[in-house]
């Protein structure tokens, strides 16, 4: 399956906006928002986010992919997804 950058970012940002509002954090999620430091994704949220990415984009995320570089911002997540899809 192929996704354009915008097709990847839109569901990501909408998922993260829901997470933020569930945690009562008022924040504008942009592609460069630091979602970890802003508290949008905490240790529980990280597990749920991984499951969301796998289901939405039909990719497999491995334990070794769980790095700051891959999870810090929506853009970083987009790059992770892109890399996974081009590996197929």
């Amino acid at each position: 399956m192929k996704f354009t950058d915008q097709e990847t970012l839109a569901p990501l940002i909408s998922y993260l906006e829901n997470e933020a509002s569930a945690r009562q954090i008022s924040i504008d999620i942009t592609p460069e928002t630091d979602i970890l430091n802003a508290g949008v994704i905490d240790s529980l949220g990280l597990l749920n986010l991984i499951a969301f990415l796998e289901e939405t984009f039909q990719i497999d995320i491995d334990a070794a992919d769980v790095l700051l570089e891959n999870f810090e911002t929506p853009n970083a997540l987009r790059n992770l997804i892109k890399g996974k899809l081009s590996d197929e």
Binding site: N37, G39, L44, N48, A51, D62, A63, V66, L67
Partner: protein
């Protein structure tokens, strides 16, 4: 006598916070869960201090309302007396909006176990797990079968129960870890705890003032910890005020106990003698009385399991690892492992072909947290390859709020040099250290 079925989806061993929560989360996802608990709740348990992070696990389990209704003591932060300096931190300064608590564990654990029952978990108490048979756990792509052999404490007959996964939350009994030989001990840090309960102890509030016990529900206390004068900064004391009494314990290297306690001295006398060496503690205990026969001891060892998940099993809380309890992280670690195990077990059921990947994901998350704990607590922490990298990554993936609190806490007890090996965000460290406030109390 509680009915125990012959088969179910998941068996949870142990009804402490980790076991009750894992069982609750799984039952809420629709699985048939049997929880086997050795004792009859409510039952006594030490370990009364909780960090504010625990609330989100109660939220996810639907236990928040009962927790609030119980009216436990709300704690505002910590006061730390180390190397002649007394500092305090307030959770509020780190942006925490929900309180930490000091809890009577018999009540706290009972609330979570009853909540599990209400969620549909089949809870059987006074049942001991004898062994777990993993001989038929499938080939990695299919879900196999695990046989849990148990005995009701009242009789001698061994019965068995088949399931797909076992979540071992048996605490330091570490049923599965012992059976599979998974535990690795930190030989450099063998310690023991000796603790008791005092009535009418004063306490320190977040503003650094001494408060009488009667104020405890109106003016939130801090958890007070202090280095003991001998023991090179590795022996320490906790003072945790509860609703009716105060838990006061010592954590000391076993070698040091051998040097300081003679055969004739009772544990109670030795304990009181050590307490007497701390001037600030003595001030808090001026009008206090030791609850008769309340002094207990346990030999503890720092350990972790070299594997925390494998075909058919996940290890939770103290069954996965146990380190120096100095920062009150034990219960929250147990709760996190419960959430993560329930999440991964659910995913294993739904995607059999990826079980190994889910076990590995769980292992990375749990091992990284244990490694963080080791770096904070162990006297002779050595960087150790893979686990060290996991610990670093766990720190980096924690948000600023959690990182700041860890920086502040590690600096309070002079174990931060260990910690520097794992984390190096100097800006955050400086900002965190500015949140420490001195406690000024006239001890003359």
């Amino acid at each position: 006598m509680t009915f125990i079925p012959a088969k179910c989806d998941v068996v949870v061993i142990g009804g402490g916070p980790a076991g009750s929560l894992a069982a609750t989360y799984l039952a809420k996802k629709g699985y048939e869960v049997v929880l086997l608990e050795q004792q009859k709740h409510p039952r006594y348990q030490v370990g009364e201090s909780l960090l504010p992070d625990f609330w989100k696990y109660c939220d996810a389990a639907g236990a928040t309302e009962q927790m609030i209704a119980e009216g436990f003591v709300k704690k505002a932060g910590g006061s730390v007396d180390w190397n002649g300096k007394i500092n305090r931190i307030s959770f509020k300064d780190f942006g925490y909006t929900r309180p930490a608590l000091h809890v009577e564990r018999d009540r706290f654990d009972y609330i979570l176990l009853e909540n599990a029952r209400r969620a549909g978990v089949q809870v059987a108490e006074e049942v001991s797990v004898i062994s777990v048979d993993f001989s038929d756990t499938g080939n990695g792509n299919s879900v196999g079968s695990v046989k849990v052999n148990y005995r009701r404490n009242a009789d001698s007959l061994t019965e068995s129960l088949s399931c797909r996964y076992v979540a071992d939350a048996s605490g330091q009994n570490a049923v599965v870890g012992r059976q599979l030989g998974l535990r690795v001990f930190d030989e450099g840090f063998k310690f023991m705890s000796v603790w008791g309960y005092f009535e009418n102890s004063s306490y320190l509030s977040a503003d650094g003032k001494i408060q009488p016990a009667s104020n405890v529900l109106e003016i939130p206390p801090t958890t007070y910890v202090s280095a003991l004068p001998q023991g090179d900064g590795w022996a320490w004391m906790w003072h945790i005020i509860l609703r009716e009494s105060t838990s006061l314990g010592l954590v000391v290297p076993i070698s040091w106990v051998r040097e300081t306690k003679t055969g004739e001295e009772t544990w109670e006398a030795w304990y009181l003698r050590q307490c007497g060496k701390l001037p600030l503690l003595q001030k808090l205990l001026t009008d206090a009385r030791l609850v008769p026969d309340s002094v207990r001891l346990v030999r503890n060892y720092s350990y972790r399991s070299k594997e925390v998940a494998g075909p058919g099993f996940f290890l939770l809380g103290d069954a996965a690892g146990f380190i120096d309890p100095i920062f009150s992280v034990g219960i929250v670690f147990g709760m996190y492992s419960a959430y993560a195990a329930a999440h991964m077990i659910d995913r294993c059921f739904r995607q059999n072909n990826r079980q190994a990947a889910f076990q590995e994901m769980f292992s990375h998350q749990i091992q990284s947290r244990l490694e963080l704990g080791r770096s904070l607590a162990l006297p002779y922490y050595q960087e150790s390859g893979a686990a060290h990298h996991l610990g670093r990554e766990a720190m980096r993936l924690s948000g600023e709020q959690a990182q700041s609190l860890i920086y502040a806490a590690s600096s309070l007890i002079n174990r931060s040099t260990n910690f520097d090996k794992l984390a190096d965000n100097q800006d955050l460290r400086h900002a965190a250290l500015k949140k420490l406030r001195p406690v000024e109390i006239d001890l003359s």
